[in-house]
Every structure is written in structure tokens, then in C-alpha cells.
Symmetry: C2
Subunit: 243 residues, 2 copies
DNA sequence: CGACTTCTTGAGGAGACTCAAGGGTGGTGG
DNA sequence: CCACCACCCTTGAGTCTCCTCAAGAAGTCG
């Protein structure tokens, strides 16, 4: 992954200037490298930080008292990680590296200053947060009101859309560093049922998922099963007019 | 509801100054009144706005292609409504008045200017968004990984906590303007099953829920069933140091 | 090559859903 | 003032999706 991929996310809303990009770079503190499976931070840890994901995939998860867990989100290069924790005294989620990963920590006082110095970036981070809220809302709908096939289809659809956003060259065949157990934790299902659901999708010639290689055989069919609403970002965001 | 209740939410993070409160008041545009059941805005509507809920309860919901819907959140006086839509070209959710309601619209350019003029308020709105993200994450866990009894218990627990925050005088007995059908849409269950679950909770002497009057009989038991994680707001938020 | 994780398959069970219908309550209009 | 309608709550019976438990196969890493 190169710098380009990492800044793509920030350009999503458009309207950023060269000076804004430079300001973002100033946020970058010493890098931290993680091996696959390594944990960036544990749920409950005090004074949680925010990170910028430069390379690799990570996942944010929450453990449940009854022994299971739920995977909140999968992060890709260019994502801001740990923003929700900024409001909290203790980290709300555990962040795990799904692949070898590089992040840079953004310390909280720096972020505070940024809000004063660069309102455009502040507004951008604010809007990214709103986008994430909508994503969570849609996942809530998916998990709360659709069946297993639809949920798995929704996860694949969302991942594909996001991968394409980060790596535009992606085709119908791509790699996802998630186990079926992870997929179960993303959908609120059990591993066993996820396995059977994937087989069902393969039988119906929607997609294949072997090891961690996904191939989408029928885009339209997949979209239909997922039933995700269309979400278009605002083209003229709120800071239009901020000089 | 008085102004006090409405500003309580903003004081949650502490550290706001009189000038900040004044700046917030400046955001208040002409009021809009809604009758019970009236819709503030429909999902899909272009150029969605943000609102400040002054009086009454509202609910935000998303309709699902399969005919059902999911209730994303219940709002009380002092809540900012519709923030997620600021990132989107079209409203992601429908907002309905659960009771007679008064809101004031905050237009987007004003908000943009605010980010420039008052970074403390910007940071505050940013942190409120992070808090909401954590709330959504916890709901995802509740709906994705717990059974009906636990989900209903979680809804009651969260509502009670929030009511207490808004109206500190609240006891174990309070009113919730939600039907069992609404509760079903909050939990991802069916009306029938919600009804049976409530009866089960009454049998077990956890709570009663008749019409729209809830009485919590056993706080500890309810908390245990809900299994919600403890979430403490950061005491020294990121803008500490912003002069 | 052995230990571990991941994937796969089977059988049985249970929590939640569907369909259906009756009763209560509040609002509205004749 | 009563009848009617709409909405909400409640209950029953039957079904199905998804879960649990269990064990074996396949792949992966040291």
C-alpha cells in the first residue's frame, strides 16, 4: 500500500486542498508495526488513542459476557481507527491485526489542536464519523432484520465496495483475510451456519469463498440478496464556503 | 421540558463555557412543532438537515426491503437529531415524533461556520458523535449476540439510564412512549415474541410494562440480564488545552 | 511430522417466527 | 351517547431458521 491509497479515503468527500493533506501528514507520529494476529489495543484499556491505518487490515471487536464476540468493523488502509474511543475513558473495542500491519498513532492533544488550527480537517473527521454511523446503522438493520444468506451477502458486498474504493484495480476475485469464524462474528451467526450459508451461495452460483479467496459470480444476485440501501456521499459538504 | 434539560446533554463532557452555550443558542433557528406520529423527514429525502430536539421524543428508523423496519434510536430532549445524514446526499433514516415535539433546525452552512469560529463546539459535536458510535456498537452486540430477554432488558436499561440523565428526578417507574411494536423494531424481534418476553420478565419480577408505563422491580436483575458494558465518558476531553 | 487452526458434515433441539384470531382501548362521527 | 373503527395487546398452534454438540477432514505453521 502506498500513500495514495491511504489518502483516497480522505478525498472521498472532495474539496481538500494541498495544505489540508500536509496538515494530515503532520498528525503522523512514529509508526507501529504489528504481526498478523497481534493486538493493537484491548477493550477496557484506559486512555484509548486514535490511529491511522497505513498498511494492512485490522478488525475492531467487542467481547460479550456470554462468551461470544461481535466484530464491529474491518479496517483497510486509509481508515482512521479508534475514533469512537476518543469519547471514552476506556477503549470500547479490541483492535486486532488481520494481516501484517502498520499504523501511526495520533495523540489526543494534537487532534484537539487540529480542531482549532484547521477547521476543514475537523469538519472532515466529523463527516467521516457520520459516514461510519450510517454504516453501523445499516449493519444494525442487516443483523436485526435479515436472514443468514442476506447477512453474508451484505458483508461481502460491503467489503467489495470498500476494497474497490481503496484499490480501484480490484475485480470480481479478491482476497479477504477473514476466517469463517470472523465472518460469523460479523454477522451474528455461528461458524457452522456461516459455513452452510456460504455453501448455499456457491450452489446458487452467487459466489465462492475458499480459504480466503472470494470470487463474486453474480454481482446482481449478490446485491439483491444483500438488499443494502444506496448511500451517496454529499457532493457539496458542509465546509463548502469555509474560505 | 426546559432549557436546562436540553443543555444537560452538552454538559456531559464538562468544560463548556458560558460563551459556548451562547454559541449553541445562536444555532437555534425557527422552531418546528410536530404532532404525535408526525414525520419530521422521510428516508431518502435529499439534502437532509440536522435538528436540535427541544421538547418531546422522536425515533429514527430505517425501512428494510423485506417489509420490516428497524428502529435505530430514540431521541430525548437535548439530543442532536440527524447528524449522520450530514455526510449523505439523502436522508439515511426516517424521523418520527413519538410525542408532541418541538425541534429547531440547524442549517448546514451555519454548522460549517461554527467549525471555524468555535472549535470547542466542533470538538464537542465530534465527541458526541463518537459516543453515539459506541452506542450503536453496543446495540450491534446486543442484537447480534444475545437472546430476546437480554435484548429487551438492554433496551429498558439504556432508556432508563438516558431518561435519568435528562430528567434526574426519575424513579423506578416511568413512562415510555413506545408500543410493543416499536420495541420489536428496536430489538429485531417480532411483536408476538416481544409480548411473550415482557410477560416472562414480569413473571420473573424484573419489570412490568403496561400500556406505556414501565416499572423496574429488580434493577440488579435487569442489569445482569442486559449485560451491557460499562461506558464512562472521558473526564478530560480532547479540547482540554484549547485555551 | 505433529499440533493447531480452520473447514466441513451430521443429528437433534430450541428460540424465534408465522399465521390466525379474540379482546381491550381510545378516538371519531353519526 | 352510542356505534364503529383503528390500533394495540394477548394467546394458541405449528413451523422453520438457526443453534448446539460432536467428530472427522483438510489445511497451515513451526
Amino acid at each position: 500500500m502506498d500513500e495514495k491509497a491511504a489518502t483516497v479515503r480522505f478525498l472521498a468527500f472532495g474539496g481538500l486542498q494541498a495544505s489540508d493533506i500536509a496538515a494530515l501528514k503532520d498528525l503522523a507520529n512514529p509508526l507501529r508495526h504489528l504481526r498478523k494476529g497481534e493486538i493493537l489495543r484491548h477493550e477496557g484499556e484506559p486512555d484509548p488513542k486514535m490511529y491511522f491505518l497505513i498498511e494492512g487490515w485490522t478488525a475492531s471487536s467487542i467481547d460479550v459476557p456470554n462468551g461470544s464476540r461481535l466484530l464491529i468493523k474491518v479496517h483497510m488502509p486509509g481508515d482512521m481507527i479508534g475514533m469512537p474511543g476518543l469519547a471514552m475513558a476506556n477503549a470500547p473495542d479490541t483492535i486486532t491485526a488481520l494481516t501484517p500491519t502498520t499504523v501511526s498513532m495520533i495523540d489526543t492533544p494534537t487532534l484537539g489542536r487540529l480542531f482549532k488550527i484547521n477547521p476543514r480537517i475537523a469538519a472532515l473527521l466529523f463527516l467521516i464519523s457520520q459516514e461510519e454511523r450510517v454504516a453501523l446503522m445499516d449493519r444494525l438493520v442487516s443483523i436485526g432484520r435479515t436472514n443468514a444468506v442476506s447477512r453474508v451477502a451484505a458483508v461481502v458486498t460491503r467489503l467489495h465496495r470498500k476494497i474497490v474504493r481503496t484499490f480501484p484495480a480490484t475485480t470480481e476475485c479478491f482476497e479477504i483475510p477473514l476466517t469463517q469464524s470472523d465472518l460469523a462474528d460479523m454477522t451474528g451467526l455461528t461458524v457452522v451456519h456461516v459455513n452452510r450459508t456460504i455453501q448455499r451461495l456457491r450452489q446458487d452460483k452467487i459466489l465462492t469463498w475458499t480459504n480466503q479467496n472470494v470470487t463474486i459470480l453474480d454481482f446482481d444476485g449478490l446485491e439483491r440478496l444483500a438488499g443494502l440501501p444506496v448511500r451517496n456521499l454529499r457532493s457539496r459538504p458542509m465546509w463548502a464556503g469555509l474560505e
